[in-house]
């Protein structure tokens, strides 16, 4: 979503993005004239008249589970976004019985929050695991 019109979205897709991605952009490119939606989400920069690089993860109940906002010159890390979605999906599937520690990726161990884990995380999880 940006402040550009849907006509400009079409031009950008047809003339540039479709040359980077086969078949063009697979998702909807939305138009937010005047930054009305961006204002509600806290990502519209009134001084510049544009939206900053905000990214929101919204779950099937319509609840915001996470967000990240960057200034324009730095691009996002799509893999990190997908990792977070996978983590939130796991938590949701287990109804909160499992939690994903720092550095978690699919396949890595989770933690089972509960009274027996209090003060015992150090036995199950090592700081190296945040970085591998």
């Amino acid at each position: 979503m940006s402040i550009d019109s849907m006509f400009v979205h079409k031009m950008w897709n047809d003339h540039e993005l479709s040359k980077m991605v086969d078949g063009g952009v697979p998702f909807a490119m939305l138009s937010d004239a005047g930054g009305k939606v961006g204002t509600v989400y806290g990502v519209y920069d009134e001084d510049a008249g544009v939206e900053t690089r905000g990214r929101f993860i919204i779950d099937p109940d319509g609840v915001v589970q996470g967000y990240e906002v960057l200034t324009p010159p730095v691009g996002r890390n799509v893999n990190e976004t997908l990792r977070q979605v996978q983590a939130f999906q796991l938590v949701r599937e287990t109804k909160g019985a499992e939690a994903t520690p720092s550095g978690w990726k699919p396949g890595k161990m989770t933690l089972k929050p509960g009274i027996n884990l209090v003060g015992n995380v150090w036995k199950e999880w090592k700081t190296d695991m945040a970085f591998d």
């Binding site: 939606v37 989400y41 939206e51 919204i58 609840v63």
Partner: protein
């Protein structure tokens, strides 16, 4: 899900939906809390409608039509920006 719209000369617009205007009594408090607001994790994502372009057609998208699915909503400064 998204409904198709015709590509006429008028430039369609969208915006937030579903939020009622705050009652008079709350208005003063509202004004005091004005300023840059950020939405909160664990809270409902504000609903909106927005016109857009998707797979060769113009569409009108409403966030709440996607309840039941995971949604990634991304904002960016503008088309043809570089990163």
């Amino acid at each position: 899900m998204a409904e198709e719209i015709k590509g006429g000369c008028a430039r369609p617009t969208g915006g937030p939906v579903g939020e009622e205007a705050p009652p008079e009594a709350n208005r003063e408090k509202q004004t005091m809390q004005e300023g840059k607001k950020m939405i909160q994790v664990g809270k409902k994502a504000p609903d909106f409608t927005a016109p857009g372009f998707h797979k060769d057609i113009f569409v009108n998208v409403k966030l709440s039509d996607y309840l039941g699915k995971w949604v990634l909503l991304c904002f960016y400064p503008g088309d043809f920006t570089f990163v």
